[in-house]
Each structure stands twice: as C-alpha cells, then as structure tokens.
Subunit: 697 residues, 2 copies
C-alpha cells in the first residue's frame, strides 16, 4: 500500500461509518446487481429488467482500482473511463519530456499503446451471499476484540478458498454495514495500456471553478486497452455505442462503483462527521491544496509532478464542502432525529426487538471512543504525519514481513493472501518518484503532526530526532534506498530479517511508530466491530418496521442506478438538460480564454469542421456519488449513450440523502465523443472500433 | 474598526506576547529613536550618530496605518512606499473598469492624483517617556482586573490631554512588554493621493514562488502624496535621493515600523506559539487562501475583488511557515531554556530579586488560562467566525454607541477619544463592498466556526438561526443596510437608541455575540496584565544580571536598524549582494514568461532603452520584520539608497532571534527606481521631483 493510497484512504476513512436500510423514493438507489429494483422499473417506467440484460451490463462494467469506473467498449478489450479517472495513470506515465496529463495522448497503432505502471482493472464475475457463514464463525457472546478477530479470520478463509478454487480475485464485502456479507469474484487485468486521452484543457474545461457545476462542456474521457499474454484481451461483454445519444426524459441506467455514502448513520455518527470528521478532513485538503499550488507555481516541471494530486485535493475540497453544507443544515438533522426516534420507539415497544433498543447508544459510545483516539489514529495509522510515497512503501515492507509470517486469518486485512497480487502490483510499481516532491510533502506532514499532536508528544520527538521537520524530511528522503524497485523486491522476499538488515531510515521511521499505530488501529477496529453488530440490529428493526426492498450504502462495489435525462430549475430559471459543442466555444469566448477556460489549439483550428449542434454534456437524475466517475450510461437497449463524470453542487448532499429536486449526475454524450474523435483528433481508427466497424489492429 | 482590520489583527494578535531585554549582537537591533546604538555604531563602523541626523530621518519617515512604512521623498509631500503596502489603497480605488493593482497608475499632473478612500499616514513628531506616570496610577496591590482598568484609564487620560494640547494623534505605547510606556505624538495625514504605481507583474515579479527569496527582481514601489487643505503638503523633512545607490559592504540604515517580534518570550509562551498559536493561525491562512483562490478563478472580476486579500494570505502563509520552522527547531528551544534557567537561578540567588523569581511561573499560568479561552476568543472576539467587512462595521457601530457613553478611561481601548479620528476615517470609508464577496467570506467563517466551536454550541445555534451557513450569510448580507455610508454616520451619531432602532440584521448579529465576546476578551486582557507585570519584573532581573543598552521587541513603532549591504552563502554557493536589470529579463526567459513571471508589455518593448547593468535589488544585514516593508534605506549621509520590501526565507526566524549568517533584508535600489521611471514609464516629471529638480506642479 503506497502512501498515495494511504492519503486517499485518509479522505475516505473518515466516512467509513455504518449505514442500514431505508426507503428509496423516486429514482433513488445504488442497487446491488443481485437485488435490482425490478418492480419499480416496471411500475414507473414499464421496463422489464431481464437477467440477461443485467448480466451483460455487469460484465461490461469495469472497476478502476485507482478509484473510479469504466466499461468495455469493444470486444478487443477497449475500456472507456474519464480523463480524470485515468489521470493517475497519465501522471505516472509522464516525465520531464512528456506531460500526457496536460497534452493528451493518441496511439495510432497497437504498438504505440503505452503500458501503465500499476493500473489494475477489475471485472465482477460472480457474487455469492456468505452472510451465514461469516456470522456463524462469530460466537454470539464473544467480546468485541474476539468477534473482530473471528470475523476477519473467516473472511480471509473464504477469500483464500475462492482464490485457490477459481484463480479469481476474491473479496468478501461488508454490506448494510454488517447486515450482509457477499463474496465478490473479479477478473483482474494488470496489463493495461493507454490508447487515447484528450488534452486536460478540454477534458476538464472550466477546471476547478466549473467543477460540480452545470451547464458544462467537458470531454472527460480516455481510453485504455486490457491485454492478456501480450495481446489485446478478447472480452465476452462490451457495450454497443449509441450514435443517437439520449433524449430529454429518456430512461437511462448507470452501472458503476459509488465509493461511499453515509445515508443511514445514526445521529451520533452524523454529529461526529459534522463536528469532527468533516472539519478535520477539510483541514487536510486545504493544507495539501495550498502546499501543492505553491510548489506548482515555481516551475512547469513542478506543476507537472504535482498535477494529479492537486486535482484530487481540489475535487475533494468542493465535494467535502458540499457535504458539510448538507450536514450543517438543521432541517436535515431534525428529520434524522425524528426518524431515529421513531425506530427506537418501535424497538422499545416490540418484545422481539427490545434487545436491539440499545443499539443506538452502543454506537454513540463506540463513536465517542473512536473520537478519543482519532487524532493519533489519523497521524500515526492513517499516515497523515508521514504523507509521502516512500513512507507508504517503507511501512508496507515492514508490515508485510511481519504479517506474512502469521496465519492468513490473523493478518491485518490488507495483507491477506487473496489481496497479495494487487498489493505487489502497487508495491513494485515503477512509477517515478521525485526527491524534492517527497521531501516537500513529508516535511509538511511532520510539521503538521507536531502542531496537532504537540511538539512535546513523545513519538513526535522521536520522529523528529532532534531536527526541525524540513531538515529531518530531507535526511530521510536522501537516506532511503526504497526508490530502487529491485531492492523492494529483495526486502519483500527476505522477511523480517532482510528488512531489519537493510537499516533503511524510512523503514526505521515506520518501525518507530508502528507499535503506537497498531495499538490505536486496534482500538478503532474494535469499536467498529461494536458498531457493525449494532447496525446489524438496527437493520433488523428497520426490516420489521419498514419492510424489505432496499439497497445498502455505497462501498465501491458495483451498483445499478437509474433515472431520466432531465433539466432542473435554479434561482427560478430553467437549466436545460444538455449542452452542445457550440456552448463550449461560447463559454471560452465569454471567459476570454483565460485559464482554466483555455482551449487546445486544435480545438480552435478545427472548430469549423465540427457540427456545433452536437450534444456535449447532459444531466440526469440517477443516484451517484464519487467513484461513479467513468460509469457508462446506457439506454433501455443497453447501448452506451454517455459516460458519467460529475454531479452538480446540489448533488453533493447525496452522501447523506437522496434528492432529485436539483441534484443531478452529469455525463458526456456518446455523440460528442465520436464527433471529437473524428473531427478534432482524426482518430478514425478508434472511432471505427467503437462502432464495431474494425478491430484494434 | 472594519472586519478587514479584525482579520489583520487576528493574524497579528496571536503574536501579541510579552518580550523583554536581551543582548544585541552584530548588526542586531530594532532600536528606539530615543535610545539609538551610538556606541556600537562608533565602535563597529566609526559612525557618529548626531541628533540632527536622527531627527531628520525620524521626521522623514512615514507610517502607513494600513500596515507598513514609507518616507517623504520631496518637500511637497511625496511619499514612497512599497507597491504591496500601497496595494490596500490601490485595491480600494479599483472598480469593474479599473484594475490599478494589476495595471498600475500614473498621474501625469497633480489634478490626476487620485484620493485614497481611507488611507492614513502618520509622522512621528515627538516621544515622551510616561512610564512613571502610568505605573504610579496602578496601585501595587491591585488585583489584575483593577490594575488593568487603572492602567487603561491613565493611558487614555495621557492621550486625551496630549491630543487636546497639541492637536496631534497621541498614543501611549507599551514597550519592553510593560517595562516602559512612551507617549508618541504623530502628525496625521488623511488626504492621501495616489501618484504612481507600476504594474503588479513587475512590482511583485515572481509572485508567491519568489516571495521571501533572493536573488530578486522586483520594482516594489509606489508613490503617494499627502495633501493639506486641498494642496500638496509642504513637509519639513524629506530624504535626498541617491543616484549612486549602495556599494558592497557599505553601512546602511533602515528607518521603519517593524510590526511584531517575540524574541524574549518565556519558554511557556513560546511553547504556546509553537503548539497552538502558529498551527491555528496557519489554518486560518490556508482556509482563506483556498477560498479566495477558488473564487478568483471564476472570473477576472472576482480575481480583481479578492486580489489584495489573497496576496495578504499568501504572504502570511510563507511568513508563518518560516516562523514555525524556527519554533520547531529543538536547538532554538534548548538555548531558550538554558538562558531562562540562568535568569531564574540568578533571581532566586539574589535577595533583591527573589520576589521576581516566580514571574516565569505566573506567565505560564496566565498563558494556560489564555489557552483555555483561546478558541472562543478567536471566533467571537477576534471575529474569525464572522469574517467580512460588514460585520466589522456593524460591531464598530454597536460598540461605539455603548463605549462612547462611558468615561474615556473605561472604554475598550479602540474607542478612546484620542483614537476617534482614525476610527471614523475607517468607519466612514467609501471603499467598495461587494455582496457576493462578503457572503462568500461570511459563509465560510460561519461554517468554520460551527466546525471549531461545535454545531451544538449555544451561540453557534443562535447565530445560524436555524439555517445552513451559506443561506444565513446570504440573508445577513442581503438584509443589512450598512453599505450605505450616510446611514453609518447617522447611526454613529445617534447612540445606542439609533443603533437599536435600525434593526439591522448585521448589527443584531454583532449584538447577539457581544456579551460572550466581551467576557472572553476580559479574561484575556486580565491575563495579559498579569503577564505585563511579570515581564516588567523579568526585565528588572535581566537588567541586574545583564546590564543596560538594548531595544524592545517590535510594536509597529518607529525603529532604527542598521547593517551592511552584503551577500551570503547558500548550499555552499555564494549569493551576490545585488541583482541587475539584466537578471530580470534572464529570469523571465528562463520561466518562459509564465505567470507569475510574466512582464508587462512595455517592459518588453522598452528593454533596449534600459541600462541593463543598473542594480535592481540588494540584500543587507539590517534587523527587520513585517511592517518594515517600505522603509527607506539610507547611507551615512542620510541619502536614500533603497527601499526595503522583503526578507529572505532565512530571515523568517527573526521573529524569535536575530541571525546574520544567511538572514537578509531585501531592498529595491534607488537607481533602479529612477531608471524605470524614466525609461519604461516616461515619468520624467516624477523622477525630476525625486531629484529635487522641479516641484510637483
């Protein structure tokens, strides 16, 4: 696990909180493929959802493990996602001479397709309900620590069995926050090559100011191809490209991987998010954004090195601010409190539910305990105090050696056998690392930690080792040899003895904080087990009171959403459901072409070749959230009519509750992609492949 | 007091901490004009400092009350300061059609000189030691609350008397953190007009990346003129312009207004800065910087509106990060601890000092108590929870009505009679206010406060009044009528009844939090009185142990610093003491002219007219800090050879201790200013006035 992933997780983990069942309304829902809303679709849209239709969509959907969604768009392994989902790979492929993230890329032949450093794509092949087996392994009267250990052990065992039997990546996922456990099997693709990306200026036209806004004019797409045995993979399912796009009020479906929602947290958990987690994660984001903005201003090369991380911070900032705004709406809390009261009253009033009536208080107590250790958890275990890639690598090596000596079921979950291949892909990545950039981030992290935990904190003192943070960071980055991938492989293979013998300063830093980090993680994991059990009880109360037929909170697993292409009203004025290519040029002109509203030269030169009436972006009412980026939008026939790339500002509360008054998902129209490929990029070969008119050769 | 000043103060107040006496070394020292380092100058530089030389420099020095320094450079009231000191005035003079801050300004005739909205310049006319009178008014056995009240009362009385007798602005300033009290009398100039400013691109060439760096190439100057009775004021003292600039190793003097240093805080106070104040003020800065950067990206006009504030955040960020780095150096604390131990031991060992030996513990206890209320103090009293101009105006109106009904000596200090004229200048300023910008900042402040004090905090609940922050902020800004200056005057004249009758929502918001804000302020002021008394005792211990002959910590009062023009070594390489105009073009080319390294068109067009060998910027060892910006640099003859505009990164620890190993002040060379005025701007009239060759007509 690299520190990049640590930092990602940091943003995410604050939101890892329990949820449960509730009643979907209107076009609400991030539905499991095993429990799709057949009745609603039939009743509301006279659409009969068949197993065949659903299975095809499932296997044409692709998960980007760097964080995002995508789909197969040709039988020869061609994958489409967003430019901003591919940005991580584009960033890593770049160097001092090549800025693919900014300038785009176009492979005119298969031979020119560029292999990504560490991109893993997953396709969900099968789903199995293992709830009973997981719960049976956890004794009813076990203390939380023992319950957590037992649950971890049985999950690892199920995964390992499945991996050995099928060769497929096998993950037991927790749904309904502990109400259900499903075994997901994925086909992994790790030879992934870049085929085409537009310039960032048009992919992310309007940049941060227009992010989460509509109307929009973004060609937020890029194309990869998965390979097997050195040849384009033949994939059994891909989406047929629609040349007619989408009509107003047309029913559409979105198949993708929403990352995280928190819709059915208890009031105590939501208060924690509002009063602690969100404000703190925003500090993290603001700090990173300013650090990288200032670094980027110093030179073009700096800007290139920091670009993808900076985009991530900016995007998270807007998303979290929007979420916090939802949390700070007293009407939202009043409604939450009322519905919680009703459930608690119901539980208290029914004999068969009375044992569950204390579940809310148990969650509140667990949340308080988590709050007590939250600061140390963030800095020591989640790695905010050491934010740089090299620390992440060092910790992975240190822990892998220790964990892999243990039985599979007793390891920290990220070191379980079934996850080994993905972990190694990341650990041995050949992506470039830059000393100055690593030092910059590590120095900032050490400074921040000293301010938050206090300079007098015993571990802070030992971490700084008598030096000011910047000096200490420079020493660590200069001293470590972990940039050398061959050395990483050697240490990883050599176990604890080899890791200790290396006397690498970054590994020794990881070792220095490891006992404390593990201790605080154990506290959090134990409290989360308590919450998991309580949430399972609340889910049963809901089931008794409200009945069945719902969907779990998002967990970066495949979900089906649906809705209609539809505009909305804002400040009394109608916002039409789609934009056209003409609008792109209008906005460019209105902003005087200033950054981030500049257009690539070829978009200006080739304007007259474009049909400016081509629909560009459109909004719809499907229920999505971060992680859905890159999700295919399909029509009743299952044809691809667009690709999700954003939600509007009003959609940012979807973390907590669904609304379709103004909240909208935003997609690129399939017609705009074809038009741009042919007229601007002269990428007829690629366009023809999308239309099934030729193979990839 | 506008909220702009509240927010400025906020950044500053965290640093309002005690200091004392210590031993100056090398070219160290921010010397009082009443106690200049005559012996050192004689011994080290064979320079005889005469009263005449000193008095002339004092009265040619100008304080910018918006925060900065300057000097008279012609007998007709022409004042030179930095572009970044004038930025506040330039910003306020701008509108949708005029961006003087970005584009510069050049009045070709007196009639074209533009009157500033609310700029006040002060010239220090006389200094009187009133220590005995102040201390005599404070009973030795008074409780801290009573001591604070008595001290406030006598200071106000001295000031009022002086104002009535002389008509001059009269401020009793606290020096040596309570060791001495001086009465400063200032001539005020409030009809200040803009004469000339270059484009920001060249004034601040290199922008944030090059800020606090050297080598530099900035024309960071602008010119104002003070008027009296509608005509240019004839001023008795001005600096003669040197056409030869400065030579390497030449002795130079800096006369200006260093804002705040914290060199002799106790260890307990420094720990508070390190572990609380600096990390928290950085949060404030990062938050503001991201907010305004994102707002600015949306349109040119937004960028114009936010520019000066954004520059302020960026500058503070680098300054505070540099200061924090100093605080996080364990060697610094080790030295501090050792010297404190020595003093404490000396106090304990001498009978006449034994009563003072507990001073350090009393300061530590007071600091702890301040820390307990710090969060509420920041948000409620310092106004971080309401950061916008309109709230500042509302609070001033509310409090002015209440305070002015009290005896002068019992009022909150900012409402004392002697400060009335300056307060009114600010309160009735005609500077533009923008609803969207006010709403943006207020909404962010409310959101932040809810996160920090907790949404459940009773006052937070009442402030939000059942609405989410953004909605509440919009309602307040839309509802208030305080943008109307005539209304402000009416309410200000009408006392509490008129203020209440106005039923203005922003004033009612200020009223809602006022009791709590005043209460927490009282706690802080009482603890500061305790610290003041303890610091006075520590000062006496120092005097007994170390002897006399030193300077107080900076307090934005006039000081004399000196040093030599001299390069330094960095990473083993020599950094020459000055740059030339050729270097400007070299750096522009090396950075490809990308922002913030772009040059105004006329600088490119007129390059060949310039003598590129002209010295541009130079560094020197004078002891300066923020507030010294715009300070004249003079040679032995008292001629102006440059103007201070920055310090290098190594100088940022000067808050806490002096060093001249690498720390340097950075100045614009007087020759570069003339060269640019004549060759680039064709401002021969202004250049001739600087050389005394013609009047201002």
């Amino acid at each position: 696990m690299t520190s990049k992933m640590i930092s990602r997780r940091t943003v995410g983990v604050w939101l890892v909180l329990a949820c449960g069942l509730h009643f979907a309304k209107a076009d609400e829902g991030m539905w499991l493929f095993t429990a799709p809303p057949r009745e609603r679709l039939q009743a509301d849209y006279q659409f009969t959802l068949t197993d065949e239709w659903l299975g095809h969509l499932q296997q044409a959907s692709v998960r980007f493990n760097s964080g995002g969604s995508g789909s197969f768009v040709s039988p020869d392994g061609l994958v489409m996602s967003n430019h901003h989902v591919g940005a991580d790979a584009l960033q890593k492929l770049g160097d001092e001479q090549h800025n693919y993230l900014r300038d785009g890329f176009h492979a005119r032949t298969l031979a020119e397709e560029k292999r990504c450093h560490d991109l893993e794509l997953n396709v969900l092949v099968s789903i199995e309900d293992v709830t009973d087996r997981v719960n049976a392994a956890v004794p009813a009267d076990a203390a939380p620590e023992a319950a957590f250990a037992a649950r971890r052990q049985v999950m690892a065992a199920i995964e390992k069995e499945s991996l050995e039997q099928t060769g497929l990546r096998s993950d037991v996922v927790t749904l309904f926050q502990g109400g259900a456990y499903h075994l997901y099997r994925f086909k992994r693709y790790t030879d992934v090559r870049l085929v085409f990306a537009p310039e960032q200026a048009v992919a992310f036209f309007g940049g941060d100011p227009d992010n989460f806004e509509f109307p929009r004019y973004c060609l937020d797409v890029c194309f990869f191809r998965v390979y097997e045995d050195g040849r384009p993979a033949r994939v059994p399912h891909h989406l047929v490209w629609s040349q007619t796009g989408v009509a107003e009020n047309e029913l559409i479906f979105v198949s993708g991987h929403p990352g995280r929602t928190s819709r059915l947290l208890t009031v105590a958990e939501l208060e924690y998010l509002r009063d602690f987690a969100y404000p703190r994660v925003l500090e993290y984001i603001l700090r990173g954004e300013v650090l990288l903005t200032a670094y980027s201003a110093r030179s073009e090369e700096n800007a290139r090195r920091a670009k993808d991380d900076l985009l991530g911070y900016q995007n998270s900032r807007k998303a979290r601010q929007g979420g916090l705004e939802g949390l700070l709406d007293p009407r939202f809390f009043a409604a939450k409190r009322e519905s919680e009261q009703k459930l608690r009253a119901a539980a208290g009033a029914r004999a068969e539910l009375q044992a569950f009536a204390s579940a809310w208080d148990r969650i509140a107590a667990a949340q308080r305990r988590i709050g007590e250790v939250a600061l140390e958890y963030r800095f020591l275990e989640q790695g905010l105090g050491f934010r740089c890639e090299l620390f992440g690598i060092a910790r992975t090596l240190l822990r892998a050696a220790e964990e892999q000596a243990k039985p599979d079921g007793s390891r920290l979950r990220e070191f379980r056998e079934s996850g080994r291949a993905s972990l190694e892909l990341d650990l041995f990545s050949t992506r470039p690392l830059y000393d100055d950039y690593e030092t910059l981030r590590l120095a900032d992290a050490l400074t921040w930690m000293a301010g938050e935990l206090g300079f007098g904190h015993e571990l802070v003192q030992r971490v700084l080792a008598g030096q000011p943070p910047r000096q200490r960071a420079a020493e660590l980055v200069r001293g470590t040899r972990l940039k050398d991938v061959a050395l990483r492989k050697q240490l990883y293979g050599g176990g604890t003895a080899a890791v200790a013998a290396a006397q690498d300063p970054m590994i020794e830093l990881a070792r220095l904080v490891d006992a404390a980090a593990r201790a605080v993680r154990e506290v959090v994991e134990t409290q989360e087990e308590i919450k998991r059990q309580a949430h399972a009880q609340i889910a049963r109360v809901r089931l008794a009171v409200e009945g069945t037929g719902n969907y779990p909170d998002a967990t970066f697993t495949l979900r089906l959403a649906y809705g209609v292409a539809k505009g909305y009203e804002e400040a009394g004025r109608p916002v039409p459901f789609q934009t056209t290519m003409a609008g792109l040029y209008d906005r460019w002109e209105a902003q005087g072409g200033r950054e981030p509203f500049e257009l690539p030269k070829r978009w200006l030169d080739r304007k007259r070749r474009l049909d400016l009436r081509t629909p560009f972006n459109f909004v719809n009412t499907a229920d999505i959230i971060g992680g859905n980026s890159g999700s295919p939008v399909v029509n009743r026939a299952g044809e691809l009519v667009g690709i999700i790339f954003d939600g509007n500002l009003s959609s940012l509360v979807l973390d907590f509750y669904f609304t379709e008054e103004q909240a909208r998902a935003i997609a690129v129209n399939s017609q705009a992609i074809l038009e741009a490929l042919r007229r601007v990029y002269r990428a007829d070969r690629l366009a023809d492949e999308l239309l099934g008119r030729r193979g990839p050769a």
